[in-house]
Symmetry: C2
């Protein structure tokens, strides 16, 4: 479901927001076994948000558009659990981004499941159950924004908020066939979000359509006087990149669809060469090095600095794998000097990346494979690490990223690529994504709607 | 001596750069007992820089202007000691800033004494001897850029490069009656500078005249492709600030001139009220908290990350007090999580400071007192900490700063104030400094030259 389609229905009085919400509640109930929601859409909770639409200007950019919220982002008067019941608190106020969306007319539906404390890329590390993949339930959903991605993919919401420190807003987009926009660090406020690595955390959006993601970006973006991590990002040229950088070398694909993933990537490489943009093969080593720093280096201590006191005070409260990962950032393993050494190294890598990406975009597979939920349960650390191989570098290098669908690795196993640019390069990435979706430029920008037509028809039949 | 005066002499062919250098060598020899230089000006070393002036456009912004270089900044083919003979290395290339100055026609004279590894604010922590104050030799020079400041104050150079992590480019300016400009973090390259806290280090300039400091800034400023710490700084409005912030509360003055310093500060406060700018008293607590973090918090580990391996491998090589300070950043005292906690706190303080300084400048005493060299020798840690009380906050909060003279606390004991602005606010500070030097606006901008006339006459007599 897309916002543009909904807006047409509203304009033609074929649907009202109340009908849409009712249908979404129905869908969420039908999919209950998929462990998508922690606080599922609930008519009573949503009612005040529907009511206020009556007195609101209908031209507000997100009027009547229902959205899901990852449960590490505050929605006033609904508990924020971060995937850990013992951690739960009930905020008085919305997170800054949620507040902006509601003011723009969007309807908050509920809170979605996640890898606990947003620590994970698989979507199985939650006491609220393993989130199923939207298309193939035996596969992982990806994470940590598991429920948000699957909620959108399953039509429980038009868009959903995720967060992304290491890839949590991109991996689940790829695994469920969605757009995932991870804006530049500091461009959207993170006030009211449970910190993972506070200096790297971003709020993100999942949507079916690029246009929806960019519309949400337009509303969510901008400094927040009470958020020390927001900054004024200089928006760069919205033109296509001059060069498209692709990684050289042989990078291992993994998981039950490894060879299919590799084939899909080769296909994506061929397509990249036909976009009318100069393609350049680069040494991926600098990105790989940055990626390794995030979990192998002292940055895990940033997670511990935010959550360590809670974990220590609540033995047994955390998901076992999550606690193990978080504790790797505690006390003895990394001293203070090692943080500064790593930061100096990252500063150098960031500088190299910025030069490389001055007038270019980087194109990578979003993930180099996927896993079944069973496989992740057996080997939770290694499988999770694999999922981040192409994503972990991003925030440390201060890049923005746009995950977009790129066909299928196998039937019902979507493949995705991610486009990266330096901070402030979102508009360039959007332009590139449009070219990607329609290399010939013949179809309209909205061509991706076509695949939505079937569910939309069903929806109208049910609601109308 | 000022650059504008020298330019006039050159234009009128009353002096040539070679004469000026010869006189500076003479002066440096005469002041040898003051421990100003580590590599003093030397005719043979300087010769190539004089020669190249012959074929150079005389309109280059710093043509024929001699300058001194703190000995933690590389000058090609001259050892860089950082104040530690065992650490010395001879660089093949100039530091990026030195390179820019030479390309603009400036003449590098030699390398100046410093508190070892730029760790200190007193100017006594050096195996090359305690640098004497330019005006009262029994007093400290201030540091860590001790030799650079005193070289300028004693007329051995027109300007000098210092560095400033915690106040090293401002405290010695105040104690020797000079201008000290600490530009915004990342606005001048630090490539070719021995790191103290690499993420906070700035190269700075000492001069007698604001105009000279700003001219050097114009040459030194700008991104360097090989320096990951440079960034493009958005230059802010060059207008006077709308508000002038002064610290409320009773802050202790210290040292043998404590009461005189306090009187000089009260005088400065009265003067500030007469500049025609709204004065606002603020709670200094946020700046004091940031200042405390620099040395009491985990940032000392950043120094250790750069120098720890050398210190460990060279027992007895470091100055004893310096080693003690550096070792406080090693191993056990701070863990990695504490760095991130401190960074998160600093981020919040930085954000508060930026709001406070949105259209304002902060005015503080540069130092709240001074000490005799004897007193510092007896109690080297506490006396040093006192010197940084009004300076340590600056780089952690991402402010730029301009230290300017503000009369005398006592005969031959200069008093100085520092003006602070958010990153990119140098032009506003310069405008404010002009107003400070000449509140009525009646005298010309060059009125500060008057006090230079006496030595200049002497100089012409000697050289001409």
């Amino acid at each position: 479901m897309t916002a543009s389609w909904l807006r047409e229905q509203y304009a033609a009085s074929k649907l009202a927001p109340r009908d849409v919400v009712a249908e979404m509640i129905r869908r969420s109930v039908a999919d209950e076994h998929m462990n998508i929601w922690i606080a599922p859409p609930d008519a009573e909770t949503i009612e005040p948000y529907l009511k206020r639409l009556d007195t609101m200007d209908r031209s507000a950019p997100l009027w009547g558009i229902p959205f899901a919220i990852k449960d590490n982002i505050d929605l006033a008067n609904v508990p924020t659990t971060a995937g850990c019941p013992a951690f739960a608190y009930t905020p008085d106020a919305h997170a800054a981004v949620v507040q902006r969306l509601i003011e723009a007319g969007a309807i908050p539906l509920g809170k979605t499941n996640l890898d606990q404390f947003a620590t994970g890329l698989v979507g199985t590390r939650s006491p609220f159950g393993e989130t199923h993949n939207a298309l193939k339930p035996e596969l992982i959903s990806g994470g940590s924004s598991s429920g948000s991605a699957v909620a959108v993919a399953r039509g429980h919401a038009v868009f959903a908020l995720g967060t992304d420190t290491a890839g949590s807003g991109r991996v689940p987009a790829a695994l469920n066939g969605l757009i995932g926009l991870k804006p530049s660090l500091g461009s959207w406020p993170t006030r009211g979000v449970v910190p993972a690595c506070r200096s790297l955390d971003c709020v993100t959006v999942f949507a079916h359509e690029l246009e929806d993601a960019m519309r949400v970006d337009g509303v969510a973006r901008g400094p927040d006087a009470a958020d020390p991590w927001t900054r004024t990002i200089v928006r760069r040229s919205p033109e296509l990149p001059k060069r498209l950088l692709l990684p050289g070398g042989d990078w291992p694909f993994f998981g039950p669809y490894a060879s299919r993933y590799e084939a899909a990537w080769r296909q994506a490489e061929r397509k990249a060469a036909q976009l009318g943009i100069e393609v350049q093969t680069i040494d991926y080593a600098l990105f790989a090095e940055a990626a390794a720093v995030l979990y192998d280096g002292p940055w895990v201590a940033e997670r511990w600095s935010a959550l360590g006191a809670f974990i220590d005070a609540h033995p047994g409260a955390a998901f076992p794998v999550t606690e193990r990962v978080l504790r790797s950032g505690s006390g003895d393993r990394h001293d203070a000097a090692s943080v500064f050494s790593a930061m100096h190294r990252i500063q150098a890598l960031k500088h190299e990346a910025a030069k490389l990406l001055e007038d270019a975009a980087l194109l990578l597979p979003t993930a180099g494979g996927t896993w079944s939920r069973d496989e992740v349960r057996v080997d939770p650390i290694r499988t999770n690490s694999d999922m981040g191989r192409w994503t972990n570098h991003c925030n440390l290098l201060d890049l923005c990223a746009l995950a977009v669908p790129a066909g299928e690795a196998a039937p019902d196993v979507p493949f995705g690529i991610t486009l990266f640019a330096v901070s402030g390069g979102e508009d360039m990435l959007a332009k590139l994504a449009i070219r990607w979706a329609d290399p010939s430029g013949k179809a309209s920008q909205r061509s991706s709607d076509v695949s939505e037509e079937q569910p939309m028809t069903t929806f109208v039949a049910v609601c109308g």
